[in-house]
Symmetry: C2
Subunit: 224 residues, 2 copies
DNA sequence: ACCTGAACACCGTTCAAGT
DNA sequence: ACCTGAACACCGTTCAAGT
């Protein structure tokens, strides 16, 4: 986007173009994101990003030790934003724990739809270095903790039966939402009877079904 | 695996090595699978496979129009095998529809664990050409049909409430099992409280929980 | 019919040298 | 401190030519 015009003559002093970019790290992240949007995570080329920014092929390696580090930095940003959006998806009107759980899941699904490239990067485990990124792990843990806590509250309040294992409930919620998000982005939903354009409605109805099933076996809920 | 010894002298007639492989297509699929096992689907290189088989870099392209076609052929084989295993996972002792649904899901999870490389290829949507492979679509549809039919039976028999949308039930089952399989292979389970080595037990317990939740709201089941 | 081998247009990454 | 530009060891793919 900030591609500078090439110097026209080879003998003149190259005064027109700043010697270094000043902000190459951030510019690389932005260019890489555009490439990911156009060609998917695999299609991100650090050479191509450098070319678009008018720097030499080696320049990016002053800012990222390797391609994987670039991808991981993108995933960190994505996952931080996802965490924020998921939190914001829970509105004050969602008064019961299960209503919050559903809102949380819906926020996740909506974010995956709205930020497909970023979502793909976060879940492209062979392109990023999850183990080497405390930030990435932290924002994933935050979503997990929110899920588990909400389920604990649902059990405490009698919305979900205490007979069910809390860890299994959390894992079930996460697996379902993650599976739905992937099926959505990978184009598997049409095969499951979802009409084109109906992805959002279908995934959210499925999420709602899970929440309803979780509530069904409960005993001491204050209201039905 | 069938790597022929290099001709020792350069002046002698190359009679020792057959001019062509005779079975290059199949050999490529096998070599590519080994590469996928070692480095993941992204690590599959057709040049490297050719090298290992002692053929020239261009040779594979007589058998596959491009790399994606090779990957798709691998996915076809994988998905045909997955379908068979899932069917075999349903034992005669699984008398009720929900018992069969659970067995089916367990078969899927076990296969994903036992054939990680193949499973990754089937679900690597940007490496394969799902739309251009009727075979791949067919075996995926077969698993889907089995899931949906089993759920219909569960509703007919009163094991699952007719109040729930059949399509949503099927999608919920699939999303859960797919999500669990991915989390398992991508190493996300430790973060969700699963101890190393406990992946099989945790995913299967989660599947069992889903089945239990589905049964909970039913009314007219013959037996509890 | 099947394969070779050279070529083309790409990669990621390193590193001396420049500013 | 930051970047260049050449180099290295790779890719996927094509295509004339060989057997």
């Amino acid at each position: 986007m900030v591609k500078p015009a090439k110097a026209s003559a080879s003998h003149a002093a190259p005064a027109a173009r700043a010697y270094h970019h000043g902000n190459l790290r951030q510019a690389l992240l932005e260019a890489a994101l555009v490439l990911a949007q156009q060609r998917g995570p695999e299609g991100v080329s650090v050479r191509e990003a450098a070319r678009q920014l008018g720097v030499s092929p080696g320049a990016p390696f002053r800012h990222f030790p390797n391609r994987r580090a670039l991808m991981t930095a993108m995933a960190e940003e994505a996952s931080a934003r996802l965490q924020i959006e998921v939190r914001k998806a829970i509105r004050p009107r969602d008064k019961t724990p299960l209503a919050r759980l559903r809102a949380l899941g819906r926020g996740y699904l909506q974010w995956a739809r709205a930020h497909e490239a970023h979502f793909r990067i976060v879940s492209a485990r062979d392109q990023i270095d999850l183990a080497g990124s405390p930030g990435l792990q932290a924002s994933m843990q935050a979503v997990r903790a929110l899920t588990e806590q909400t389920l604990h509250e649902a059990q405490a309040v009698g919305e979900v039966s205490l007979a069910h294992d809390a860890a299994a409930l959390a894992l079930l919620s996460r697996a379902t939402v993650y599976g739905l998000a992937r099926m959505q982005l990978d184009g598997h939903l049409p095969q499951w009877g979802v009409k084109p354009g109906g992805e959002a409605a279908a995934t959210e109805a499925t999420l709602a079904l899970l929440v309803k099933l979780m509530a069904a076996g409960a005993s001491g809920a204050p209201a039905a």
